[in-house]
Symmetry: C2
Subunit: 367 residues, 2 copies
């Protein structure tokens, strides 16, 4: 058995998501590129690449990782490119998507010289997001061009646009309403484009999501404007595929029962801290209630309050569910807490340890 | 000139803090151990070790780093130790401080067998903290023993206790009030102990902090109970010593002027995101107002809204102040954004690049 903590990625669950992605691609004609910002554990990219068209990125390093480890179409997007990285980004990508007209003006000629397709991110000023922090249409958002007077003059030099306007959107009706507004506002220019990316944040791999309705909607939209549509699933690609496996190290009672485990929200599942959310466990039933906490110095390092069938004691194992998206990509060495290993359960059931972190890795993260 | 982003640690400012720490040690008799959870950039440990007594820790890896790179007294504290790491922690430390009586009961015998001093963390149920998230006395806190009925039976096997009850406390009166309450509640047991750590979070290196008053207060307390007092400065050791040096990559106007720089709050100054705070710049004057944002996909990746003398343009440099504590220890690869290098300005003014991070480091952070 492996030493906790470790992320355990179950390829059979991953495959279920990927098969839904394939189904959507086949029935709608949409292309799906993995958003590496959510998930970049490249040891399973071979399986993912069989069901997805490529990757999209938020930085030069993600562009390079996508090109080297995933293949297929490599979309290079970044909120802002730097002079010293733009050549490498253009060389490694198939399309480059600029966040602003000023970035376009600074670098488009270099992309044209390499015959790379060029896109521009537009901000439609509308969105579906549960958090202001993550809302791309928040006031004064820097994410994409809002002003069509600035966009129109460069339209003939771009082949497509990207809208990213959903965060954890699991409501088809909401997506449909937003799409209608986008079509109404941008319909005229969509006709002139080759491709449009609708970004990520659409939870179409969830159970009960009306995937056929989505497929038809996207197919109709593609045909209406004569465009190749893209989606950029990140979390949706890996949802429910990964657990964070931890061990109880101590239990204390301070008015409530508290169990302390060998992990940390801030270091290993950062979004729980950022968005003040709890993770989940299964079955989460039984008469024993515990606040399950991490082992960092942070007073609020809390994974959640859960039910257990038995009293917890040191040595007991807990699996935190749905730890695939936005976890491994932002893990860090806070408090010097052991960084979780990464393990993969292959389709034949065999578990393979694919990554371990050592004291030397911790020491070398500083200087 | 170095490629941004990079943390720039100015040893001459660091030395100013260290000299205050030395002054406090000399005038009060208190010992000061560096809290590695806040700052663990070991390339300046040689200078720090001249002015501090050693280190304290939150994990096995911090214990080892303190022992190997800093020397002096090595305090081993962790919210919870694991069976597989306890022997190594005990071997590497001078004192081991348990967070609960149950951890004490599980491991004390091992420490006794190695003749290591043993301490226990007590939670006095009072604190100075601006944030519930960081408040060690928050309801149901797992940080330290609350129940003296559990502590009393093991008192004869410990030589000291640790209280950590301050977070960013720059008010001497508040500290004094809390100390009085602690002395009142625990006075009887303090007499029986060899040492007491008052933890970290006291900002006594700030300008205008009444350091002589603090020194006298601590000296009196030591003498009253016949104990060696410890403080555990983390942030206080490095305050104002470090900037995060960044470059403007793009400017956009969406109702306000926004400048996008080659860094990220979440990835490089995480506490700004966690505590919804802005960093600072100097002089922060002039007629031009900009929201300064990072380059990640996160809509709320905002360093602050600042004043500038001139319009900002791509290529301009900005230095974010006070980026030493709780930054480098929690930096991460979110979005694959270039991790800042670490540079040190030596006392002779020479700037040395002590750490760079590469694409290979990014790729190897995953698997």
């Amino acid at each position: 058995t492996l030493q906790t903590p470790y992320y355990l990625l179950d390829k059979s669950v991953l495959l279920r998501n990927l098969e839904k992605i394939s189904y959507l691609r086949q029935t709608s004609g949409v292309k799906c590129v993995l958003a590496l910002k959510a998930f970049a554990t490249w040891s399973v990219f071979d399986l993912m690449a069989e069901h997805m068209d490529g990757t999209t990125s938020s930085s030069l390093y993600e562009v390079k990782l996508g090109r080297e480890k995933f293949g297929g179409e490599t979309h290079a997007y970044s909120v802002a490119w730097a002079d010293h990285e733009i050549d490498e980004a253009i060389a490694a990508c198939d399309k480059i998507i600029f966040n602003s007209v000023s970035q376009f003006e600074r670098y488009a000629q270099k992309a044209e010289a390499q015959n790379k397709k060029i896109g521009l991110r537009l901000n439609p000023g509308i969105s579906h997001s549960h958090f202001l922090l993550a809302d791309p249409a928040r006031p004064f958002s820097r994410l994409g061009e809002w002003d069509m007077d600035r966009v129109t003059p460069v339209l003939d030099r771009i082949s497509g646009v990207m809208f990213h306007f959903n965060c954890e959107n699991d409501e088809y009706e909401s997506l449909d309403t937003l799409l209608k507004a986008i079509e109404e506002r941008y319909g005229e220019i969509l006709h002139k484009l080759e491709w449009v990316s609708l970004g990520g944040g659409i939870r179409f791999t969830n159970e009960n999501y009306p995937i056929d309705t989505l497929a038809k909607r996207l197919k109709d939209m593609s045909e209406r404007y004569g465009i190749q549509l893209y989606l950029e699933p990140g979390e949706a690609s890996v949802t429910k595929s990964t657990t964070l496996e931890v061990t109880v190290l101590d239990t204390v009672f301070n008015g409530k029962n508290v169990a302390i485990v060998d992990s940390s929200t801030e270091a290993h599942m950062l979004d729980l801290l950022t968005y003040s959310e709890y993770t989940s466990v299964a079955p989460n039933t039984g008469p024993h209630t515990y606040i399950v906490c991490g082992k960092t110095c942070l007073a609020g390092d809390i994974f959640g309050e859960f039910q257990f069938e038995h009293e917890l004691k040191a040595g007991d194992r807990i699996a935190f569910l749905d730890a695939g998206g936005y976890t491994m990509v932002k893990k860090n060495w806070f408090n010097g807490v052991q960084m979780p290993s990464i393990a993969v359960r292959h389709l034949d059931g065999q578990v393979e340890l694919v990554k371990e972190f050592t004291f030397e890795d911790y020491a070398q993260s500083l200087s």
